[in-house]
């Protein structure tokens, strides 16, 4: 099985990244790659040679967490009320299959059936607070055997191939980045950078904040996933990025202004190696780059993303070529800035 498939099958809603972390840890252990897990749960793969080699002391980072839900109460009828963890559009929730808690109890997000809704209710969008999770139990007591308040809920959405070149699944944001980072770490000799698999990005770039405090860095490259909005109803100038058009280079977002030197290097490396690339046509949103760039006395940062349609929903779509080219661009960027050491 592909590592990416294993990674997206794992549940890892922000603050509950254990499954993803265990998976990555066991993959790292297979290759005897040294790592440590910090207080918040970030995995740090520190290469002692980075300090000896001198500047730029480079970090590559991808976040392990995904958006999801959390159980806030169990009703007498056994239905679960929930809150969102991370940015999810309420309208993608209804009728989704979910897994609740560490026992992965299956459930379905339900709402009042359409024939029971009043005419005015039918016109309104269903909000998260109108919805509940149905785990097929008779009442609160039975529900408590399977779940409890505070349990994390993740979408159930196995990886599938779509067409000849695409994958459908959940949590490509940012397991795609994790998979790329892992592959780069896994190429024989430990590459000339530190790597971090971070936690709690979706709830405010939290893991990256402490990673930035822990490491003395000159430069950080974030491997991310960003929204591809080349879909019906979206005008060309409203599109953040396009599927199949190659890795997405951020210029600025709400969290960071990308370092111009790093951006120029990424563009040059892409052009010299015939790697297609695109610019992120949107300056909102944030990534771990925001937290890392402001750590200590400041760190130069850039963001390279795999484009994904329907991001932050249970069914997002990525393109294999984009994945391949993103990895290639990151790999060649490292070679370039580290002087092919």
């Amino acid at each position: 099985m592909l590592l990416l498939e294993k990674l997206v099958s794992a549940s890892g809603v922000s603050g509950n990244e254990d499954e993803v972390r265990s998976l990555l840890k066991s993959e790292l252990e297979k290759k005897d790659t040294g790592y440590r897990v910090d207080t918040l749960g970030n995995i740090l793969v520190e290469n002692p040679e980075v300090e000896q080699q001198g500047p730029p002391r480079l970090l590559l980072a991808a976040h392990m967490d995904e958006v999801g839900l959390m159980v806030t109460s169990i009703e007498d009828g056994g239905f679960l009320r929930f809150d969102k963890v991370g940015g999810i559009d309420d309208r993608v929730l209804v009728s989704r299959k979910v897994l609740v808690g560490s026992k992965k109890t299956p459930g379905v997000i339900g709402s009042k059936a359409v024939h029971l809704q009043k005419p005015e209710e039918r016109k309104k969008n269903l909000r998260a607070e109108d919805l509940y999770i149905d785990i097929g139990v008779k009442g609160k007591e039975e529900a408590k055997k399977y779940v409890q308040t505070g349990d994390y809920v993740s979408f159930y959405s196995p990886l599938q191939e779509l067409g000849h070149s695409c994958y459908k699944g959940k949590a490509f944001d940012d397991r795609a980045g994790c998979a790329i980072l892992w592959e780069l770490l896994n190429e024989g000799r430990l590459p000339p950078f530190h790597a971090a698999f971070t936690v709690q990005e979706e709830v405010g770039l939290r893991g990256a904040l402490v990673v930035g405090n822990a490491l003395d860095l000159d430069m950080a490259l974030i491997v991310e996933t960003t929204s591809a909005s080349d879909v019906p109803g979206s005008k060309e100038h409203e599109q953040v990025s396009r599927l199949g058009a190659g890795p997405v280079l951020s210029i600025m977002d709400a969290s960071v202004v990308v370092d111009k030197g790093m951006l120029d290097t990424l563009i040059r490396v892409a052009e010299e190696n015939e790697i297609p690339y695109q610019f992120r046509g949107f300056n909102g949103g944030g990534t771990d780059a925001g937290a890392l760039s402001l750590s200590r006395a400041g760190v130069k940062t850039a963001v390279v993303s795999v484009p994904a349609r329907y991001i932050h929903s249970p069914c997002s779509i990525i393109n294999r070529e984009d994945l391949h080219y993103t990895r290639k661009l990151v790999e060649l960027f490292v070679k370039e800035v580290k002087g092919k050491k």
């Binding site: 599109q239 300056n283 200590r296 400041g298 760190v299």
Partner: protein
């Protein structure tokens, strides 16, 4: 002062692209300080050496702008804001890029002003095709307000008084300071203030100041039917008590009040309900830094036409000079 302020407001320097304004300021101050350098994020740091504690004085170099997000086949540019720019003041405004390319903002058809949102705005740089446009500017390039500096008599009118007037106050103070200071004073011209007080944060970390004072503009409540605010143009610089980013350190604030009173500098007490300054991020670096803010009252902040008062600017220099000469020991 007028010549300096005119030069500083004219320099290009949107948040994240402060190279040009940095060069202008460096040229102004380098002969008056012991050392001058640029850090990782691009802050310009000008050091006046001295024994004793370290006072950090900060003003931000960056200004607002618009970033190109897309170039369409007819040569029109789509844009996103860099900093707190609002759509309704943009229509009809001229903008200019770092390479001199100019253009004007207009919008797709709308029925009511409230429909004016970012996706409806575009920048017309006078090109008729994508090919022609990308010869001049491309996605990621940032344009700033294209507005001339005017002397209105007792007041100055221009773009980016926020915070080039603060930069001018620092530059002028640096030039007036005597050879011997009772402490080390580090003047920091910061980057990316408009995007969230970013440059000040990393500079604050690196410099480990004992105290910090930010110099920035503040809003006023003296225009027709304005929001209530107890600061007016022409009644002297303001000593900040609170804004959304910080409650100024009591001791630092008291020193500012007493120095103003002792030296006959007219000043105002400022409580700003919304808005932040570099001092907000400096005070939270490392183990905390006692911080205050010297504000210059400014009308129409963040529009292409900001107004400041000559006397307020002059008195801000006077007070900042006293702050640098004051022997900072215990607050």
């Amino acid at each position: 002062m007028e010549k300096l302020l005119k030069e500083l407001t004219a320099a290009y320097g949107p948040a994240g692209h402060e190279e040009e304004i940095r060069e202008v300021i460096e040229e102004q101050v380098k002969d008056y300080v012991d050392s001058c350098y640029t850090d990782t994020l691009g802050n310009l740091i000008a050091v006046r050496e001295g024994a004793g504690p370290r006072l950090m004085v900060a003003a931000h170099m960056d200004e607002l702008g618009l970033m190109v997000t897309h170039v369409d086949e007819n040569g029109f540019l789509r844009i996103a804001r860099v900093g707190g720019v609002v759509p309704h003041i943009l229509v009809g405004q001229r903008f200019v890029f770092s390479n001199g390319t100019a253009g004007t903002i207009n919008h797709e058809k709308i029925d009511e002003l409230k429909e004016l949102e970012w996706s409806k705005l575009y920048l017309d740089i006078g090109c008729s095709s994508r090919e022609e446009a990308v010869e001049k500017v491309n996605v990621g390039d940032v344009a700033v307000y294209d507005q001339e500096f005017k002397n209105l008599g007792q007041r100055y009118l221009g773009k980016s008084m926020d915070d080039r007037v603060g930069c001018a106050v620092l530059v002028e103070t640096i030039k007036r300071l005597p050879r011997q200071l009772p402490q080390e004073v580090i003047f920091v011209f910061t980057v990316q203030e408009e995007l969230g007080l970013r440059g000040a944060r990393t500079a604050g970390y690196a410099l480990e100041p004992s105290y910090a004072v930010a110099v920035d503009v503040t809003r006023v409540g003296d225009t027709p039917e304005s929001l209530v605010m107890d600061v007016s143009l022409g009644k002297g610089p303001a000593v900040k008590i609170k804004d959304s980013s910080l409650i100024t350190h009591h001791g630092v604030r008291e020193i500012m009040f007493s120095l103003a009173e002792k030296n006959g500098v007219e000043y105002q007490r400022e409580v700003l309900e919304r808005g932040g300054t570099d001092a907000g991020s400096i005070q939270l670096t490392r183990e905390g830094v006692p911080s205050g803010v010297l504000s210059i009252p400014c009308r129409y902040v963040h529009t292409p036409s900001e107004i400041v008062d000559k006397g307020d600017v002059e008195n801000a220099v006077n007070l900042l000079e006293q702050l640098c000469l004051y022997p900072w020991k215990e607050v």
